[in-house]
Point group: C2
Chain length 162, copies 2
DNA sequence: ACCCAATAGTTTCATATGAAACTATCCCCT
DNA sequence: AGGGGATAGTTTCATATGAAACTATTGGGT
C-alpha cells in the first residue's frame, strides 16, 4: 500500500542487520541457554517453567489467567499443566463459585522446584546482563518497552497493497 | 552451582521483568507481524523466507552455507529448500568440483518474490523502528550485539560445524 | 424459569520440528 | 591405490505445536 515501497524496490536486505532476525537469534540463544539448565535438572519444558514461575508468585490462579500472564494460549497451558499435575508438581482445585474454573497451585514438590529454579534463572540472567553496565540495562529495557508497545499496537498494518 | 545462589534463594521472579521472557515476547511479536504478511502473500514459512533472503543476496550458495547464514540447521534448510524447489522458486545445481554439494539459487519466479518481499520486510521493519530515534536505534543495535556475543560465548553452541 | 450465546478447559487432528540414522561423496594418510 | 574418517544433504521417527472441534458450565435477556 505505501507508495514509498517503490523507492525501496531494489534495496538490499542483509539478515544480520534485520531487526526481527536479530531479535530471533538473541531470544533463542538466551532461552536455550537457560532452558538447558532447568531441563537438565528437572525435565521442565519452557511452558512448564513459565507456569511454575507464575504459580510460585501467585498461587490459586485459574488456567485462563496463567495463560494471560505467560503469553501462552490455553491449549499450551492445558497441556503443560496436565504434565505438571502428572508429576505431582501442580494441583488443580475447583472453584466454589464457578464450576468451569480450576484453580492451580504448586504442590510441595512443585514449590521445592520453584525455590531452586528461580534463583538459578536469576543467576543466569545476571550472567547475561554482566555484559552491560547498569545504565545500559536501563536503556535496553526502555528501548525494548518502546518497541514492544509499538509492535503490539500496530494491529493490522497495511494489509494488501496494489 | 555458585554459592552466591544462596543469597538469591528467596528472590522473586517476575516474568515481566525477566530478560529472556521479554526478549521472547518482543521477538515473537515482531516475527509474527512480518510473517503474517509474506505468508498471506506468498505462502512462505519463516525458514523459506530466510532462504529466499540469502539466495537473493548471494546466489549459488551451498545448502551448508545457507544454513550458517540463516542460523538454521541443515535439516530445516533441506526441508525448506525441498518445498521451494517444488514450487519452482529455487533451483539446485551440482557443484563441478564436489559431488556432495548442491548450489542453490533463485529461479525467475523466486526472484520475483524476492523483489517484492524484501521491500515489504524493510518497510515493516521501518514501521517498528519508527518508535525509536536514530540514536536509539544505534544504541539498541550495540546493546543487542553485546548481549548476543556474551550469551554466545558462554557455552559451546550445539548445532553443527564451527 | 429457560433458552442460548459466551466462557473455561480438554481433546483431536494435521503439521512443524529436532535428533539421530542413513546415503553419497570426498579427502587424508599410509 | 584404497581404507577410514569426515562432510553434504536427506530421510525417518518421535515429539511439539496450533487450529479447530468438543464438553461442561455459566450468566444474561426475555
Amino acid at each position: 500500500m505505501p507508495s514509498d515501497l517503490k523507492t525501496l524496490e531494489h534495496a538490499r536486505l542483509d539478515l544480520d542487520h534485520f531487526l526481527p532476525y536479530r531479535l530471533s537469534i538473541l531470544s533463542n540463544r538466551a532461552s536455550d541457554a537457560i532452558a538447558r539448565h532447568y531441563s537438565d535438572r528437572f525435565g521442565l519444558s519452557v511452558p512448564e517453567w513459565r507456569i511454575i514461575a507464575v504459580l510460585g508468585q501467585t498461587p490459586g490462579m485459574p488456567a485462563r489467567d496463567v495463560a494471560q500472564r505467560t503469553a501462552m494460549d490455553k491449549v499450551q497451558v492445558s497441556r503443560a499443566v496436565a504434565s505438571l499435575v502428572d508429576a505431582r508438581r501442580v494441583k488443580r482445585d475447583g472453584d466454589d463459585a464457578d464450576g468451569r474454573i480450576t484453580r492451580l497451585s504448586l504442590t510441595t514438590k512443585g514449590r521445592v522446584i520453584y525455590d531452586e529454579v528461580v534463583p538459578l534463572a536469576l543467576h543466569l540472567e545476571e550472567i547475561f546482563l554482566a555484559a552491560l553496565t547498569p545504565a545500559e540495562r536501563k536503556t535496553l529495557n526502555a528501548l525494548m518497552d518502546k518497541l514492544t508497545d509499538r509492535i503490539s499496537h500496530l494491529h493490522v498494518i497495511s494489509s494488501q497493497s496494489e
